[in-house]
Amino acid sequence: MSAQVDTHAHEDDHGHHPKETFITKYIFCQDHKMIAKQYLITGLIMGVIGVLMSLLMRMQIAWPTEPNVIFELLLGKWAPGGVMDADIYLALVTIHGTIMVFFVLTAGLSGTFSNLLIPLQIGARDMASGFLNMVSYWLFFLSSVIMVCSFFVEAGPAAAGWTIYPPLSALPMAQGGSGMGMTLWLISMAIFIASSLLGSLNYIVTVLNLRTKGMSMTRLPLTIWTFFITAVIGVVSFPVLLSAALMLIMDRSLGTSFFLSDIFIQGEVLHYQGGSPVLFEHLFWFLGHPEVYIVILPAMGLVSEVLATNSRKPIFGYRAMIASILAIAFLSTIVWGHHMFISGMNPFLGSVFTFTTLLIAIPSAVKAFNWITTLWKGNLQMNTAMLFSIGFVSTFISGGLTGIILGDSALDINVHDTYFVVAHFHLVMGISALYGLFAGVYHWFPKMFGRMLNKNLGYIHFWVTAVCAYGVFFPMHFIGMAGLPRRYYTNSNFPLFDDTTNVQILITIFALVGGAFQLVFLWNFFYSIFYGKKAEQNPWKSNTLEWTTPVEHMHGNWPGQIPHVHRWSYDYSKPGHDEDFVPQNIPLKEGEEESHH
């Protein structure tokens, strides 16, 4: 099925657009490239906030209850005399998780690159609906503002963990953060989900309907495949979280009992009867687990593209890559119960979820092997994006492997909710997805801003980040296996864990150094937007269509006709061609066969 836009009006760019004002160009803009930049910069700002929170937590864990000027400076009344309050620690845990998972790695990553690359790489003038796209961004912006504002309410922001399990999240008397803070959290997330759904529907429609002539589904770059499937997963699972959030709002405000039953708190019996917190867990993780694939799939797509381009080789096993994306997407919707092995659900369900969960390791392994083989006998161009892509494969393997332990219900009994889990998911979806984001930014910065990022700063940024990421999360497995629970404000009430103190301090030092060196990236990013070296049209000698557009952005992307596509996007170093790349819009030579058919 090769969808085409045959109408002449769309194929040609007429060149007379209504006059742009500052507002239509930079603020309420409907052009996908500008919206991508808006997503990226908002995501980066949220990222700075999220990372800063994690550093505050790390300092608290390493040096518990010691007065710290930074706490006093940043947390104000929540750190009287510079000693962090236990409530705000849990709030930091909660908001850090929420911001990183949703605002940085969902919106910041998928939002940025889906918007930038879908129209450019499939050969479309813009998204199917520019207006919905704009609305999607502004809803995201609104939800970000509300989430950040929740830090300034009287009783503190939501503090029940990013999973907001009721009853803790439902009862203001259970925790200060479950009052106004939780209300704002729920409102913010509801708006976020609306934004995400609008975006996802747009991506799906665009990929299915607006591909240029010749761009069949099996000629699409893997980036587009991952964005497309990510959008499908989002459409399937986000509405379930929305319904859970609405039910929770009703429990909180309208007296329903979806998730609550038999509660006695602070000297009184509450009226709730017949609900179950386990139901909430099911609904939450029905999104929550696919969510990690919503985060990681786009990163995988970006990394596949960067690896192939910089190895000057086709991605190995293109069809297997697509098959594994589809397999992961399907399996991701039937594994949510592995977060709930010991939630009190029937142990038989635990067996089923163990089975489906460990199955996911198979397509993941195929992907990892294919990436490694892509490097084999390549001619590797060590650009910063390439380094982050190799780093991605490394952390994805290191973090993914421990999933074999956590996905096994019998083993999960003893490591559930310990630091082992923290180490696992930070490596496999936190750090990996961040690497994917960085790889994307370094690779497509010239496309976004028409200028190059400084490569030496990029190298410094990568290597310090890579060392610190392992420095933080590798030792963390050990304290987790020692039985140390996560989300403890301090471990000093358990002499049993005193021998983990030094590890905690070491981890914190790595975290602080790693965090500080992100400033190098921020500097490079904002400096280069204005003063970076001017970019060539196709600096990385890449095959995909976005590099056939002019460096200066324009509405409609191509000045004349949209290029037609004659081959897949991975004809790197193809025998019979002088250059080591053949862009997709170059017709096949006489007698040349298309590579992957």
């Binding site: 509660i263 067996s351 096994d408 290597w463």
Partner: protein, 356 residues
Amino acid sequence: MTGLLTILILLGITIAIWQMVKIFDLAQVNKDTSQVANDGDNKVQGYLMLAFLGFIYGITIVSFALWGDLPLTSNSASEHGPEIDRLMVISMTVIFIVQTITQFLLHYFAFKYKGEKGRKALFYADNDKLEFIWTIIPVIVLAGLIMYGLFTWTDIMNVDEDDDPLVIELYAQQFNWKARYAGQDNVLGKANVRLINLDNANILGLDEADPNAQDDIITTELHLPVGQPVLFKMRSQDVLHSAYMPHFRAQMNCVPGMITQFAFTPTVTTEEMRLNPDIYEKVKNINKIRVNKSKKLQAKGEEPLDSYEFDYLLLCNKICGKSHYNMQMKIIVESEEDYMAWLQEQKLFKNSLVQN
């Protein structure tokens, strides 16, 4: 003060980097100013990739050397514990092997095939046989792990009522634990939080009319007789909690509105565990750390820390509010006689009620 210092240092680092890059740039004025990697970059980064492989192996070795004694993979104190430990060690070994090989291939290839001008990469898009092999190998390995895991899981979770287990309720509330023993009849009396009456000290909401409830015993320490199967019934009165007993490889959430359960047989008494060479060493090490910490505290004019003695613990492992980090209960595993003697001293429920 430390905060200000940190900020100053960060500022210093930033300026240093800025200057370094300026120097880099100036040095390259006449050469290649493009920001695309050249052969020189490829070479340097390729070697760094190799060095990074060394770093990954290094941090693995250092971690095992320094903290290899931390993981709970031996000295479990329950009957099913060794099963979990064995599965854990097998899984870790598999992971370790895969990790070592794949990280080597990844970083070695990154070094070996670093780009050179004029060289052309191998056009190699597909190999069905190869892909089949690395699909089928994980399938086989995982099939083994899944089977082993499922048998272990079923074994642990299936409670054998014929064993006549001792029934004990674990009761969670913000932020402490209580245990309720079923008494002579080994049947827990009916209970619901709606029956809680703080005025007559019916704190767990037992049905005062239920004959089974009369001989129940509520305690704040968990005593278990060694070698006897115990069936825990978990309840929570307010929010989710999780009853985590790491030394017994046991954990189950406590959910308001429902009763959850977990069963195990403790096999090592607290006294025996304290004499276990590994635990003995661990405690000695911890006390050394505590003495050092105490010195610092005393220098500041604060109270020194108590000396630590090993005890089994029940921890809360599900975020439950402000004092989540300090929700614990001591577990004591002892001989049948000691256990009975202790139980005799405890008040029966019917006698614990306050008459108004």
